[in-house]
Each structure stands twice: as C-alpha cells, then as structure tokens.
C-alpha cells in the first residue's frame, strides 16, 4: 500500500500547522517525521489517523481517497505519546478492545480473541501481565501494551506519536532497538513522529524533516546528515558551524577563507556556509583556504575530542571534532595557535528573509 499525500494544508486559528505538504509513503517503510515542536508533524500524523482533517489537499491510498474513510474504518494503528490506555480495562482487555468492538460478522470468536491477545502480549514480552491494570505498569510496559493494542487490529499502517518521549533514557534506547527489530519482523508501513534526531537517524529508513508546517527535506538518514538541503536542516540535524559570507571582488568569503568559483556569478551576495565539526582540518599548509585560530578548549570525550577554536579575523568560535588520539599527536593544548581549514561546506544563497525561508540557491563547496 502506497500512501500519497499531496498539497496538504491545515490552519488553526492562529497559525498554519501544515503548509502545502506533499509526501509519498512507500509500502513497508519506516518513516520518521522529525521536527521541533509546532512544526506540524503531529498534525500530519493525526490526519493520517483520521483524528483531524486538512483544509486542503488529498491523501490517496493506492489511488483511493484515504480521507473519505472515517477514523474507525481506516485500519490504522496509532500509539499515543502518553499511551492513552483504557484505564478501567486490564492489559488483556485493552489489547482485545479493537477486536471486541467489531461488528458481529467481523468479530473473531471469544477463544480466538483470547488466543490473539496472548500472542500479542508474548510478542511485546508482557505474557504474564494480562490481568494487570495500566496504572500498575511502568512507562515502558505501558508503551508496549499500547503497541500490542494497536497491532491487534492488524493495521495496514502503524502510526507512532513520540513513542519514546515520556520514557527515561535507558528504557528509550532498549525499546528503540526492539521496535526496529519488530518492524523488520512485521514489515508493516510505519510512520513515527519525533523531535529527537538521534532517534530518527537510528531508527528510520527515511526521514522527513519538518519546520513551520513544511517539509524541508525527505531522504535517508545518511542523506539528511551528509547533504542537508536547507539552512534549517543544517541547523537542526547534528552540529554545524554557521559562517556568514561576504561578497567582494566577485568572490564569497569569510575572513581569510575565500571560496573560489561562485556558481551564482554574483547574483546572490547574501550567503551563509555550514561546516560540520568533523569537516574542519587542523594544521594544514598556508596555501589552503582557511584561518589562523587559537585553541580555547579541548573536551576529550573518549574516542572523539571536541575542540573550541576562536578565529580572530572573523571573530567567531568554531567547533572542531578530531580523533581523541590526535590531541597528543598534534600537541593540541589550550592557547596554541594553529591553522584550520574546511574540507567541505554547504553554502546557501539567502533571500531577504534570511535563513528562515527556503534558500534561493545551494552550493556544495570543496577546495
């Protein structure tokens, strides 16, 4: 089943939650909707679940109008951020709910339901918790009950709203791996909403990065990390050094770092470059484009060292990541002066609205 979302828009009284969003969800894929709060990702999820409707746009499932089906007819499994388990029902009754509310024709027999609930509880490793009430379970257990409940109706599409948002860090990592394995097992099309990039990068086949109701970029975790498409994605995913560029003598530059070969031939003079900390080289030759900087701090974090360098010529502090062993090999001590040069950078030509608006041009720079 391929879901095709085209030109979805949704306005709330004071703001646009979705602004012309188009997206194709492929069968069996694990898609993350990643963005800060208020970026519209949960609204998008609720529209897919049938709990909200767009003001404009369509959703098609293999060519059929998906929005025409009401929530209870969509064959969608939804796991809420706060689980939303039925507090007056036991764990087993919670899981059985979706089967029990079916019309008599479609409803499995009592014995079949019991058997199915047993299987599902086993699958989520809660075999002996069927008789308990949600209030007697831990957060991680509740989350797994919510998942079993959603899977009980054999959905075509599984939706997860911040599935690990309310859990503590350790449970989160365990549950994340487990969910990934489950997905590989079931091959069920899954869409999950998160504001945690680490979660999205680790779990998803594809990520849609959202900001202010728009999709900024859709791609594999590698593509999102290595080839960010917009300034927002640069700033939201991972660490980036942001370097405002100036235009002079037909070239863009930031201090001593001069970028040869301006692809826009001077049409865009307002530009910004993003360089990942691991894409800055230390101690190169004078001929390479780069700066002289002073080392301010060294944070040695095991295998990696995070350096903080100050560049006087542009009065900016750069973050540089090097291998931990390089700290002693290169004699990196606080106060030392050394050359630093970008190995590659992503340059955006900005319009009048700056880095909030979609860029007017994108240039992958390499020396």
């Amino acid at each position: 089943m391929t879901l095709e979302l085209s030109h979805l828009s949704r306005r709330f009284t004071d703001s646009a939650a979705l602004d012309d969003v188009s997206l194709i969800i492929a069968p069996g894929e694990f898609l993350a909707l990643l963005g800060p709060s208020g970026s519209g990702k949960t609204t998008l999820l609720r529209i897919l679940a049938g709990l909200d409707y767009p003001d404009a746009g369509t959703v098609q499932l293999d060519g059929y109008d998906f929005l025409a089906a009401q929530a209870h007819k969509r064959k969608v499994g939804l796991v809420f951020q706060h689980y939303a388990l039925f507090r007056h029902l036991t764990v087993a009754e919670n899981v059985a709910f979706g089967l029990r509310v079916r019309s008599r024709k479609a409803r499995p027999s009592r014995a079949q339901i019991t058997e199915r609930v047993k299987q599902l509880l086993k699958r989520v490793q809660l075999d002996d918790h069927g008789h308990r009430y949600p209030s007697q379970l831990s957060g991680g257990q509740r989350q797994r009950v919510a998942l079993a409940r959603a899977l009980a109706v054999e959905p075509d599409l599984l939706l997860l709203d911040e599935p690990f948002g309310a859990l503590d860090a350790q449970v989160r990592v365990t549950l994340r791996r487990w969910l990934r394995e489950l997905h590989e097992d079931l091959e069920l099309t899954t869409v999950f909403v998160t504001h945690d990039q680490e979660e999205a990068l680790e779990l998803a086949d594809r990520i849609a990065v959202m900001n202010r109701g728009r999709i900024e970029q859709v791609g594999s975790p590698e593509a999102i990390y290595q080839q960010p498409a917009t300034p927002f994605v640069c700033e939201f995913i991972g660490k980036m050094n942001k370097l405002p560029l100036t235009y002079a003598n037909y070239r863009l530059s930031a201090g001593d770092w001069v970028l040869e070969g301006d692809p826009w031939n001077g049409r865009h003079t307002n530009a910004v470059a993003y360089v990942r900390p691991e894409h800055l080289s230390l101690g190169g030759a004078d001929t390479e484009p780069g700066w002289v900087a002073r080392l301010r701090h060294v944070y040695l974090a095991g295998s990696v060292a995070h350096l903080e360098l100050h560049v006087p010529s542009i009065d900016q502090t750069l973050e540089v990541d090097v291998a931990g062993e390089d700290v002693t090999r290169l004699g990196l001590q606080t106060g030392v002066e050394l050359r630093v040069a970008p190995r590659n950078a992503i340059v955006f030509a900005l319009g009048e609205q700056g880095s909030d608006a979609p860029p007017e041009g994108r240039w992958v720079w390499q020396p």
Binding site: A49, L51, A71, H72, L85, F86, F97
Partner: protein, 269 residues
C-alpha cells in the same frame, strides 16, 4: 485541638441538634401518632409526587449534564463560555426568582399563558411546572461534577477507541462512560437530593393544592403553618433520612473512588 473542638461544637449546634429536634418533635406523641401522620392520604400523595418529580428531572439532568460536560470538555465552539455561565445560573439566582420566571412565562398572565389556556395545557400550579422548576434548579449538579474530570482526562482514550475501530456509541459506552461513572453517580446523588428537597422554586409554581401539587418540603411547611407539628416533623424526618442516606453514600463514594471524583485521574499518565 481547639479548632477541632470549635468545629465539633459548631456541627453539634447547627446540624446534630436540629436533626435531633426533628426526630424528637416527630415522635413527641409516640410511634402511633407518627405512623398515622405519615399514613395520611395527603402525605402519601406528597411522597409520590416528590418521587415522580425526581424520577423525571434527574434522568433528564443526567442526559443534559453528560452532553454539556462532554461538549465543554472536548470541543471548542462559539458560546462555550455562555454555556458554562448558563449551567452555573441556577447556583447564582435565588430559587424564588427561578420559580417566578416560570410563572411569568407560563402563568395565566404570562407570555405563553393565553396560548396554553387555549390549548388546555396546565403548567403552572400543576405537575409540569414542578418538574420544570426542579430541572432548572438541579441543572448544574451533574455537569459541574463531570466537566473538570473530563477536562483532566483529556480525549486521548476516546481517540484511541475511534482509531481502534469503535463507532461513536461504542466509544461512549465502552470508554467515556466507564471513565466518568463514579463522578456521574456522585452528581446524580447530589442532583437527586436537591430535586427531592427543593422548596423555593417549587413553592412559587406549585400553588399548594393539597394532594395534587404539594411535594414533601411544601407539605412540611403547610402542616407547620397549620400547627400540625407532629405531621410537619414526621414528613421532615423522611426528608432528613433522605439527607442522611445521601450523605452516607456520598461519603462511601468519596472514600472508595475519591481520586476518580476529584478530577485527578489515576494511571494513564
């Protein structure tokens, strides 16, 4: 300690003592006089009428209360604040005024009085008037009990039920209602106590027709004014027993399901 003493003294003087007086006066001339007072035709008719009025107004208020609470707790709409204020109106208006409003609307000289007379419909000085006044007076009890609870529970569970395939009624009976059942029972209890005990509004629309439009509280007043003290206090004991029973069940509910009544829901979060 002093505070506890003061509170106990206060309760004794203002609650226990009057209650004792009610029972003492009722049984002043012995059990036989008490029973014969209660067995009178007018008294029995007053009891029947009181039960009838409660039996009509309480279910109607349950339906209205649940619907209003659901609308207020779940949806944003124009006039939501107005609806909230309307629900509170009976609390802020004197019951006598409430009764008077119905007289002005449906009485012989009222807005609809002429039309009603033409069609031979009796509302004021008849049972429909009593029911209307009682419904108005007890309007807030169920809704006010449910609104904070439903607001704190949120709509997640109902939405979960929908996505799991439940239709609207299935959602209501399998999720919404079980989640509010004890608060609802609590509201019904208070609503019922007020419906049976209401005096002011009912007094205005009743017309005090013996055996036809007098409820128990009105019967008490009429007998008292006629110097039939045993009769007045005998009927009063029945009302007092109702109050005590209400209090007992209320205490039981608060003790057993306090967390589900007091709007902070257990579990789930």
């Amino acid at each position: 300690m002093l505070l506890v003493l003061a509170a106990t003294a206060f309760l004794t003087i203002f609650l226990a003592l009057p209650l004792a007086v009610v029972f003492a006066e009722a049984f002043r001339q012995g059990l036989r006089a008490y029973l014969s007072a209660i067995g009178q035709r007018e008294v029995l008719s007053a009891i029947r009428l009181t039960l009838l009025v409660a039996a009509i107004s309480v279910p109607l208020n349950v339906v209205f209360g649940v619907a209003a609470a659901w609308a207020i707790a779940r949806f944003e709409f124009r006039g939501k604040a107005l609806l909230g204020a309307f629900i509170d109106l009976p609390f802020s208006v004197s019951p006598v005024i409430s009764g008077l409003v119905y007289v002005l609307l449906f009485g012989a000289q009222g807005w609809f009085g002429h039309w009603l007379e033409l069609h031979d419909v009796k509302i004021i000085f008849a049972v429909p008037g009593l029911v209307l006044a009682t419904i108005f007076i007890t309007l807030p009890f169920v809704a006010r009990e449910l609104i904070p609870l439903m607001q704190s529970q949120g709509r997640d569970e109902e939405e979960a039920a929908r996505v799991l395939g439940a239709g609207g009624w299935q959602m209501f009976f399998r999720v919404t209602l079980p989640n509010i059942r004890w608060a609802l029972l609590y509201g019904v209890l208070l609503c019922n106590a007020r419906a049976m005990g209401e005096f002011g509004a009912v007094s205005v629309v009743s017309g005090h027709i013996r055996g036809l439009t007098t409820t128990m509280p009105l019967e008490v007043e009429m007998r008292y004014n006629e110097y039939d003290y045993v009769g007045a206090f005998a009927v009063a004991t029945l009302l007092a027993l109702l109050a005590l029973a209400t209090l007992a069940i209320k205490a039981l509910l608060e003790w057993r399901y306090g967390d589900e009544i007091a709007a902070h829901a257990p579990g789930g979060h």
